[in-house]
Structures are given as structure tokens and as C-alpha cells.
Symmetry: C2
Subunit: 491 residues, 2 copies
């Protein structure tokens, strides 16, 4: 299988596309820009959902569901919001088809034209704040800490599986608060929840920081983001958390009576993470053999493959394999025993490497004799033979080691490919020829940011929280700067 | 709170609507026919999802995700399917807005007209079978056992919260099989899974049976359904499972090579259950005090309310309450301790009755002295005082009893309101004046079925699997019949 993958170092984009298709994660659909998320890809999304949902609930959030449709007029209420989303939205204009008079299929029934067009949600601030107006009267009704798991549509012209699709799945949190401070705190709390999830479950180190004005969410006062580095040296924004100020409360007239009886506009945040994350997961860790999945998000953590010449051998092996399987499952480890006789072991080995199953166990007749197992770990491609007796503990520990090792490796890659630069020619050289994260001084002006983008395609990924105050000169304009910001080309 | 509910026995429809709103389950949105599912209502849906998803996986199914949009031409391929859904679908015609030249908001950009209109999925057979065409080559690729959790849109003209909304949430299973027998078996298996879920988790007895031709899913060879009786004597279809024959395989040209090397069309099933189920749950069990939720689907199973006059009392009570809470939680029971000082105990009692929390514990100063608790069960409204020492076991058992009692009660109601009738005037009388399930003979003709519907608004809910063969005469036409079928007015 893996031999059909394009070489990662020769053509990264094609390697990525091959991998998504061949590992059975997703495919293009008959609808332009929309993907089908296949069962194996969706199983990863289910793992992501389950973990994030748990973290949201642990921080006091509840789920709800708001309509797919947004009346067109809602968009015009928040000026920046409509600017940001109007150019890429799917619009419903009619609600009925009828038989074509020529007898060839169906056509729109012109009599069924909507009075007001409906937009398929590209994000739900407007419809949600329109509901919140009726839910919030007093400070006692606050905070509202609500999340929604949903599909959204943004009519992208150039699409790529997982990374950029017209329809995608995500969660969007929308919270309402009595004070500015509380909303800012929530914005920060949620970017930290995302960072925690991405680092500890996706095994992917991130840089946390503020977006510049030009990269901010349409309608936000401040956008916080986590940025990760892919193996081709490009950045990818994994999640964002927005402090919306009182913008949507003003647009939808959501006021409350505070503790002193005064009428005030409500403070808002929103935050989202999407199926794009699966693209990041694939691109950050995988290799020329296929996917490398961190055990905590792998749909199958351990696969057991029997190696046999006849039915009798298979029977002995199966007995041993099923015993190991249930012992592992009792420890919360997900295991697949693949005893299909339609494919040879070698084919299966390659297939599970392609699919990124963290641990493979092979059991042959000699293993039965010796009470041993052959263990293969996907991250390092290393094999070892262990005693079957201590297998459960060994594998439990191994899965932990693999999770750690993948994170460590990604961290080393990020460190090795983060450059602190002070000269424009170095900036251009690194951006053009190597890729990676560049920490450089910037004069803070949108004009300079735009110029740098025009000349190098590199953008400011974020102003990192932990970038220390230091005197410096903007790498492009030479004007004074007080801290370095993070640049890279990005997905 | 509850006193503001319309009396169930005076105006059932208004009672239902009041209850949905006042128990904070859902509300109408700004978009015609679309509801907002509020956190408490959505928490019930999450419970339903979690349990069903477990049951689907235990029967070998996996989840995937297919596009929201369906190209219009796909609809014309299966003749009955388009007949069934064309008249109630939302149609996307454009993909961009632009600023209105008058400066007032945004308008459709006529330059961004789609070449082919896209339909928002009312159900996904067409887009899924178009994908399956590329997934299935040989009998080795079968069966495909795939489920999708998704939103769908059917442009209903008369809508009611949960029961009938333009957009609703559901799951839709779509399976592909090598033989007719296997597909029929799957269709039956899934109606049994639904029945198991509805009876054992929703505590709602159902009648399983076949739909008549006129009530069949558009494109199905056979539709199996589970039907439940609501407290106003109307029936409600809770779930359906369709045997689709080779209809969609033919429409989308999905063929496979069988074991003998012969090219054959694939056999299909689909099955779905939606947020409508929440409507059934509410209508079947609730009373004039509010919701009655079966413990297995209640978001909060036990609420603890402190009764105190001063801070010191509250402190003692809280210590005891939190001890009970964690003991219950260790036993997998979800507990809320409501020590808010913004509302009086009486108000809280009424509110949790309205919300259908199965068990309420009240703890006052005297309970602390006596090491006792006051326990209230929502289903019977009965109170008792128990010793705090054995509380966990007592409440665990009580939750089981409540689950059973609600099911038993609903079963008695169904039995008491199921009539075996042989005279048309009785049929009319029961239908008009009492409501309920009627088991009566039918001559098997769609014309008779239609006449009965015209005259009484009663429809054939299903031909029950367990309706015994017996000679009889059609209750309407007097023509011969071999078994009774189930009639009622229905939602």
C-alpha cells in the first residue's frame, strides 16, 4: 500500500492528498468543495469530539443547537461580520421543486420563492445572539456558557480535504457575560483548553498568541489563536477564541440589568475548532509509510495479526490472541484482531502502517511455543519480541511512550525550525527556501504586515503571549518595535 | 411554575407547547419552522444519541459524514424518491452576497448563480449511494454498515416543536448488502434495536409492524416502523427501518461482483430516528406538574435541595449533601446540588418537578439531627423519609423502580386504550370521542385506507408483526381480510 504514496519530501501536497485518500480518511464528493468523511476519518473526529466535549463540560459549558439557516438581514447588523462572510456563503432562495413540464426531472417552483433569503450558517454569532436577547434579562441569567456541535458552510474557491472545504464540521462556543473582565477571562480560558487538547491529545506543540487586526475574526475585538508548525514548514491555525466585546450585543440589542439596576450591553466570546484539525494531525506526524496517530486519538490502538500456515495453527494463535485482546480491552485499550484470510500478513502490516495504528502485535507458531509476541511500534518502526505474560503492562506503557515520543519529536521539529531573525534577507531566504516559524520584530502597522505578505506570502500567525518585551527594529521597515511576532507561510 | 401550565386534560396541544417552553427544552427561532434546542432539551438528545450510538456500534455499524448538499439531478434518479421529497426542500441557488448599491445591507450577487441548484438533504440516500458506487466492487466490500448523525431539512408548512420542524436532527443508517436476505435481516434487526431502545430507555411500549404502501418511505420496497400511543390517544411513529431493495443501487448504478463472478446490483436498507423522539418522550409520560423523564434518559437523575434558615445550618447541610452527592456519583448517578440562594425551596421543588428530575432529596436541619433524608419521586409524586446511611442503595433501587413504573404505566395506558373493533360505528365513535389504538380488519386496498382516512382522519399506523392470521371482514368495506391492522389518528 504505502509504496503508492507520493514521497513526502518530494511533493508534500501530493503526499498529503494521497495519504488522506489511501488511508481511507476522506474523499471528494459529487458536490464541489464538499468532502465525504469516511468511517476511519470520522472515527478520529469522534475521538476529538469526545475529549473536547469532556473538557468543555468540565469548564462549565453545556451544549445546545441553533438553526442551520440565518435570515439574510441578520448579517447586515454587524458591519465587519457581513464584510467577512458575505462573499463566501450558500444562499437558500426557494423551498420547493416541481416536475419539469418537458418531463425531464425537476425544476425550481418559482411560486416557492422565500420572502427573505436564508444563509447557511458560516458561523452562528448572529442567530445565537438573536436568541440570547430573549434569554438574558438580568445579571442572574449570566453567564451563558453554551457550545454547539454543527456543520457550517463557507464557499471556498480552492478546497483541500479537511484543510479547507465548503462544508465542515466544528464546535462553536458562544458565551455571554456580565463584565468585560469575565469575557476576557473566558476567551483566555478556552484558548488554553484548546492548547491543552492539541498538545496533550494531538501531541502537537503550539504557539499561543493574539491575532493582528487583519487576521482577526470578523466582528471580534480580539482573536486569540493557537498555531502549529507542519512538516513542510508552513503554519496552521488549529483553534481560535474570540473576545467579541459588546459588538454582537449591540447589533442584536442584548441588554441586562446589572447588580446596581443599571441597563448594560452583554459581553461576548466565541471559540471554535473544526475538522481542519484532522488535517493538522495528519500533516504534523505522518511519514512515507503513512499516518502516525497519537495513541490517545487513534480509533484502533493495537492491532493483532496472526501468522499461520494452516487452520490448526490459526486456532492456537486465535486462542492466544483473543486472550491478549480482552486483557488489553479490560485496560481501556482499543484492539482489533485481524484474522481475515483474504489478505496476507505482509499486506496487513503495510495497511496498518498506512493507517497509523500505534502498536502492532504479530503472533506466529513459534511465538506460541515460546510464549512470546512480536511488537511493532508505528512511530519509530521498531520491532521487539516480548514475553506474552507481561504483555498488557508492557503495551500500556508503550502506548504512553509513543504518545510522548510523538509530542517530543514534533516539539524538536518546531524548535529546530523556529528562527529568530533580524535581517530582511534572512527572512526572505528562510521563507522561500526552508520554511518554518520566524520570530521577528514588526513595527505594528497593517501596511508593513501587508507588504511582507505581498513579498513573501508569509503572514503574522500571532503575537505570542510569551514573546518578551525587548527593544528592536522592524525586520521590514526598520522602525522601532517592542517585541517579536511569529511569521510563517500558512495553510 | 407548574401552575402556569395549561391543564393537560383540557387542552393537550397547548399543554404540550407550554411544557416544552417552560421546561426550557426548546423554542421557536427567528427562522420559520426552525427551533432552537435549548441546553436542557439538548441534554436529553445527548443521552439518546449516546445510547443509540452504543447500540449501533454493538451491532457492527460505524459512523461517517456525507455532504449537506445534494445536486438537484440526483433527486430525479429514483422516481418515487423525488415525488416524496421535492415538494418540501430548501434549495441553494447562489453562493455569494454583495453590498446593495443603495447602501442598505446585502443582496444576492447575480453573478454567483450555481450551474446546478443544490438541495439541502431531506434524507441522504442519493448522495450516499452516489458515493457507494466507488466503494463497492466485489462481495468482499460488503456489507457496508454505516450510520450518520446529521441535520436534515424538510420544508414543513405546519410545524410544532420537536414533532415537526423544518430542520431537525437525526441519525440515518445506510447499509449495503450482497443479498436480499441479508438486507431484509438488517432492516428487521434495526427496527428491533429501535424497539429495544424505545421500550427500555424511553420507557415507552411500541407496536412493531409493516407500513402500508401509502405510508411507505419514498423509494422503499418495505418500511418497518415502531408506533407508540400518546396520552391524548394519538399515535406517533418513533422510528422507521426501510428495505430499499435494489432501487437506489439501480438509480446510482452500484453493482458488485458476487462469489460466482457475476455482476449484481447491491441491496440496501436505511433507518432513522430523530429529535421527534423527544416529543414522544414528553407526550407519553408527562403530567400537569410538568415533565416525567425516565431515569435512564434524564440529564439530572437526582437533585438535592437544602432547606435552611441561616448560614450555619446551610453549612451543616452542605457537608451532608455533598457526601451523598459524591456517593451517588461514584455509582454512576448524575446529581445536582442546588444551593442557590436566589430562590426558595418551594420554587425549586416546583421547578424540578416541571423539569422532570426523577428523584428529589430535601435536607433540613431536622434531617441532620436525625440522620435522615426526605425523598420525593417524580413519577408518583410520593414522599418518604429514609435513613441517610443506606441512601445510595435506596436511591439506586428507586431509580430502577421509577424506570420500571413509568414503562408499566405507559403499557397499561396502551392496553387500556387499544380496542379490537368489528363495527364501523364503533370505529368512528372511538376515533372521534376517545382516541386510542384500534385493531381492525382491513381489506388490503389503498382505496379503502384512503376512504377511512377521509372520513375519520385515522390512518393505518402499521400491520403489526404479531397480528395473528384470522378470518375477518374489513371494518369499512366488509370485504374479506386475513388479519387486523393498527389504526389511529397520528402525529
Amino acid at each position: 500500500m504505502a509504496k503508492y504514496l507520493t514521497n513526502r519530501d518530494e511533493n508534500y501536497a501530493q503526499w498529503y492528498n494521497d495519504l488522506v485518500i489511501k488511508a481511507d480518511l476522506a474523499e471528494h464528493s459529487a458536490v464541489r468543495g464538499c468532502m465525504v468523511i469516511k468511517p476511519y476519518g470520522y472515527a478520529i473526529w469522534e475521538k476529538i469530539q469526545a475529549q473536547l466535549d469532556k473538557m468543555f463540560k468540565a469548564t462549565g459549558h453545556v451544549n445546545a443547537y441553533f438553526p442551520l439557516f440565518i435570515p439574510k438581514s441578520f448579517f447586515s447588523r454587524e458591519a465587519e461580520h457581513v464584510e467577512g462572510f458575505a462573499k463566501e456563503c450558500a444562499i437558500v432562495t426557494h423551498y420547493r421543486l416541481k416536475n419539469d413540464e418537458s418531463g425531464k426531472g425537476v425544476v425550481i417552483d418559482p411560486a416557492a420563492k422565500l420572502e427573505e433569503e436564508l444563509i447557511i450558517r458560516p458561523t452562528s454569532e448572529t442567530i445565537i445572539w438573536n436568541s440570547y436577547r430573549n434569554w438574558i434579562r438580568s445579571y442572574r441569567d449570566l453567564p451563558l456558557l453554551i457550545n454547539q456541535w454543527a456543520n457550517v458552510v463557507r464557499w471556498e474557491m480552492r478546497t483541500r480535504l479537511f484543510l479547507r472545504t465548503a462544508e465542515f464540521l466544528w464546535q462553536e462556543g458562544h458565551t455571554a457575560h456580565a463584565t468585560r473582565e469575565e469575557a476576557v477571562e473566558e476567551t483566555e480560558k478556552m484558548i488554553n483548553v484548546y492548547a491543552d487538547f492539541v498538545e496533550n491529545f494531538m501531541a502537537l506543540p503550539v504557539v499561543k498568541g493574539y491575532k493582528t487586526e487583519s487576521e482577526r475574526f470578523a466582528g471580534a475585538v480580539d482573536t486569540l489563536a493557537i498555531e502549529a508548525l507542519m512538516q513542510d514548514g508552513k503554519g496552521l491555525q488549529v483553534g481560535t477564541s474570540h473576545f467579541l466585546g459588546q459588538n454582537f450585543a449591540r447589533a442584536f440589542d442584548v441588554q441586562f440589568t446589572d447588580r446596581n439596576g443599571k441597563l448594560e450591553y452583554v459581553w461576548a466570546t466565541s471559540w471554535g475548532l473544526s475538522t481542519r484539525t484532522i488535517g493538522a494531525l495528519i500533516m504534523a506526524h505522518s511519514d512515507n509509510h503513512g499516518l502516525v496517530l497519537p495513541p490517545l486519538l487513534a480509533p484502533v490502538q493495537v492491532v493483532i495479526i496472526p501468522i499461520y500456515k494452516n487452520r490448526e495453527q490459526l486456532q492456537h494463535i486465535s486462542t492466544a490472541a483473543l486472550k491478549i485482546k480482552s486483557a488489553l480491552e479490560e485496560n481501556g485499550i482499543s484492539v482489533k484482531y485481524d484474522d481475515r484470510d483474504t489478505n496476507k500478513p505482509g499486506w496487513k502490516f503495510a495497511d496498518y502502517e498506512l493507517k497509523g495504528v500505534p502498536v502492532r502485535i504479530a503472533i506466529g507458531p513459534r511465538d506460541i511455543e515460546n510464549n512470546s509476541l512480536e511488537i511493532f511500534r508505528r512511530d519509530t518502526l521498531a520491532k521487539e519480541t516480548i514475553s506474552a505474560s507481561g504483555a498488557t503492562d508492557h503495551i500500556k506503557k508503550l502506548l504512553g511512550d509513543i504518545q510522548e515520543n510523538i509530542f517530543r519529536k514534533a516539539g524538536e521539529f518546531k524548535n529546530d525550525n523556529t528562527y529568530y531573525l533580524d535581517k530582511w534577507e534572512d527572512f526572505v531566504d528562510i521563507t522561500e527556501n526552508k520554511g518554518g516559524f520566524i520570530m521577528a520584530h514588526w513595527d505594528g502597522s497593517p501596511a508593513t504586515e501587508e507588504k511582507i505578505k505581498e513579498e513573501t506570502k508569509a503572514t503574522i500567525r500571532c503575537i505570542p503571549f510569551d514573546s518578551p518585551e525587548e527593544e528592536g527594529k522592524c525586520i521590514y521597515s526598520g522602525k522601532p518595535s517592542v517585541k517579536r511576532v511569529l511569521f510563517s507561510r500558512a495553510y
